[in-house]
């Protein structure tokens, strides 16, 4: 069960967009903005409030890669795998990062809730390929070695 504060916050967000079916996506985005993920309980709650079926809400939420039902780590690392990044070898970067952090395509977040690694389609910085983002910060022209350095640096900040 989520704390009551989650529902109070969600009520505020719903208020912002109005109780209608078309508000679903902006409401989900705002919830994810606040909690950095989309708690399933809140999606159910939103569906009930705006009058759509739960299965429909789930359908929309799973259609977009961007929505996540899993709690995310302190650092959300997005590895771009758009065409430009892909041809400039983004896959080895992702694999190195998975190996370094003990993650996989199924397991995105480290147990200490420090890192979440995701592959995304395009960050819109093709000229800087291969590109990565750590939270809001862009890291251009990456390589597997630079990725490991970056992770160690981030770990150091939290010692």
């Amino acid at each position: 069960m989520l704390d009551q504060s989650y529902y109070t916050k969600t009520d505020e967000i719903i208020e912002r967009y109005g109780k209608k079916a078309s508000s679903l996506i902006p409401i989900m985005q705002d919830i994810q903005e606040v909690y950095r993920y989309l708690p399933g309980e809140l999606l159910e709650y939103v569906a009930g409030q705006i009058g759509i079926k739960e299965a429909k809400a789930y359908s929309v939420a799973t259609f977009y890669e961007n929505f996540s039902f899993e709690e995310k780590g302190k650092y959300i690392i997005k590895v771009c795998d758009g065409t430009a990044c892909h041809v400039r070898k983004s896959t080895p970067i992702l694999e190195t990062m998975f190996k370094e952090l003990g993650l996989s395509k199924k397991k995105h977040t480290t147990d200490d809730m420090m890192f979440t690694v995701e592959m995304v389609s395009c960050l819109g910085a093709c000229g800087l390929a291969p590109t990565m983002m750590v939270n809001e910060e862009v890291h251009p022209k990456m390589s597997p070695e630079k990725a490991i350095d970056l992770i160690q640096e981030l770990r150091g900040e939290n010692r």
Binding site: G40, K53, A55, K56, Y58, T62, F63
Partner: protein
């Protein structure tokens, strides 16, 4: 309005919404997986793709007809496309056809055969998903899903439930309940209409046949059957008989041959329901009780109310369903040690309905904490049981159901169609049963396949306002309008399945062909052929009320909803 040329023939059209329906009118059976007569065109399967005179190809279901169109439905190019679509569907499909429940009635299998798809060149890259058998009514096997969307759309648009949805996207797309929960933990009402609409074996009936064979083989068990009204008009055609023909006599014989000890007829307990429900209705009208009274025969409808319309729970009739009344009465009958003769009694209920499997397990349908209906078998399973036994069904000599629970009125028979319960109750309320009165009732507005029927019947100086709905999305509209104060009724009858129980989720399906009209006609014919039209004239029933049922009516025939 206009004319289109289909394969060189001129076909006139009036208000057809799409090219597909005109092609069908021209007598051409264009393949489809996702086209459903009661739903807007979806255009998912692309199998109905046709070609025009400029070589342009398009899905016939999603194309508006224009005067002067010239269309080819079959050409080397189209055949190649169709085969390719089928091959791709088969590639990501669990092709263990021989052990699939739908084998033989699967649309995909038939299409593969029809188009001669004999080789599948691509490997199945879809991740295997768990089979969901959490529901007592249906089994979902996503590995056999072709993503046509029929179940999703029927559940949402016709039934207003929306328990299923498309989840994920692209090659990961899968039909799932919200959060991939077991279907039994959702708002699913067990109506089985998803299974009726499914063109493959992705949704099938949760079967209980082996339990029946075990019971029949046990000499210490008295195996008792009851057969619902809608079953008798839905199984003859599987054995080469006329579609919609009433075959109750042969079903009785078949069950006796299989080793059933007693075979009773649910129209007997439907008569009980009429007596109990009309008494309850009059009592509520007289004493100012909660109105409108909502019928309680349909377990899917009842679950919709108890899940989502809790404020209407006091409106639900306390009457058990005919299945429940029969089981409770029969079990009580054999509680008498002399009648029991040392055997335990197992009640097997033959129903057109998947939700009845759920109802049998619903604790408030029990008596003294014991489950009254032990096993529920759908019409589809009954056909298979007859086939298991190797009976020449059409050649069987019909016989009558057993006393004392085997006799019923025409009013009990018509429970199988939408409006039937209401019509039977009105018959009960009317002072006589002359042909004129019966005709007046039949023409009051209670019959017909409209999803929502409203009409008024005069009774004892009041105008009884009645609403009859079938299809739960229609039921929702009715309840919403009552809740909003826009409508006022005395009685609301709802059957979850469009057309009533004859189109129940447990009935045999025919590749998207709906036999509503034939089965409905079969029910009304059986009513006409019945000796008595209303339960007041059912002498075995009345004598049972005078003897062992006396004083136990509330205990055995009613239940509370909360």
């Amino acid at each position: 309005m206009g004319t289109i040329t289909v394969d060189g023939r001129q076909i006139e059209f009036t208000n057809e919404k799409n090219v597909l329906s005109i092609i069908q009118k021209a007598g051409i059976d264009l393949p489809t997986l996702c086209y459903h007569k009661d739903l807007p065109a979806f255009g998912a399967c692309r199998l109905c793709t046709v070609e025009d005179d400029r070589g342009r190809t398009f899905a016939a279901c999603s194309e508006e007809p224009r005067d002067g169109m010239v269309i080819k439905t079959t050409s080397p190019k189209l055949l190649k496309y169709r085969r390719m679509i089928i091959e791709l569907l088969l590639a990501s499909h669990d092709r263990e056809c021989t052990t699939c429940d739908e084998s033989g009635s699967c649309t995909l299998q038939k299409l593969a055969h029809r188009y001669g798809v004999t080789n599948v060149r691509f490997a199945n890259t879809r991740e295997r998903r768990e089979i969901d058998s959490s529901s007592p009514s249906i089994v979902r096997d996503p590995n056999k899903c072709v993503l046509c969307g029929n179940c999703v759309r029927v559940c949402d648009e016709i039934q207003g439930i929306g328990a299923l949805g498309f989840s994920f996207r692209g090659t990961d797309a899968t039909v799932l309940p919200a959060f991939d929960r077991p279907i039994a933990e959702t708002t699913c009402v067990n109506c089985g209409q998803c299974r009726v609409a499914c063109p493959t074996g992705a949704i099938t009936i949760h079967t209980s046949m082996d339990q029946v064979w075990d019971a029949v083989a046990d000499p210490d068990t008295r195996v008792v059957a009851q057969i619902a009204p809608a079953v008798r008009v839905a199984i003859g055609d599987a054995f080469g008989m006329k579609i919609g023909q009433d075959v109750i006599g042969r079903i009785v014989t078949a069950l006796k041959r299989m080793g059933f000890d007693e075979v009773y007829d649910t129209i007997f307990s439907a008569d009980m329901t009429i007596l109990e429900e009309s008494a309850e209705f009059l009592e509520r009208v007289k004493s100012g009780g909660t109105l409108p009274l909502l019928t309680s025969c349909c377990p899917a409808w009842v679950k919709l109310i108890t899940d989502q319309y809790k404020d209407f729970i006091p409106n639900i009739s306390t009457c058990r369903s005919p299945q429940g009344m029969m089981s409770a009465a029969v079990k009580e009958y054999y509680r008498d040690p002399e009648r029991a003769a040392g055997k335990k009694t197992v009640m097997v209920s033959f129903m057109p309905c998947t939700a009845k499997k759920y109802e049998a397990k619903r604790p408030n349908s029990f008596t003294n904490g014991e489950q009254d209906t032990d096993i529920v078998i759908t019409s589809t399973e009954l056909i298979r049981m007859i086939q298991n036994y190797g009976l020449d069904f059409a050649g069987l000599e019909p016989q009558k159901a057993d006393d004392p629970f085997g006799y019923g009125s025409g009013g009990g028979v018509i429970f199988g169609v939408t409006g039937g319960v209401t019509e039977a109750v009105i018959r009960r309320l009317m002072p006589d049963e002359t042909p004129e009165t019966l005709k007046m009732i039949a023409e009051s507005g209670v019959r017909g396949l409209d999803g929502i029927k409203e009409f008024t019947v005069p009774y004892n100086g009041i105008d009884v306002k009645i609403c009859v709905a079938s299809g739960l999305a229609n039921a929702r509209k009715v309840l919403d309008s009552v809740r909003a104060g826009e409508k006022e009724y005395h009685l609301i009858e709802v059957m979850a399945c469009r057309g009533g129980c004859v189109m129940g989720g447990g009935q045999p399906v025919h590749n998207g062909i709906y036999l509503t009209a034939e089965r409905t006609e079969g029910i009304y014919e059986a009513d006409e052929a019945s000796e008595v039209k209303k339960p007041d004239a059912n002498k075995p029933l009345l004598s049972l009320y005078d003897t062992f049922l006396g004083g136990k009516e509330h205990h055995l025939l009613h239940n509370e909803f909360y």
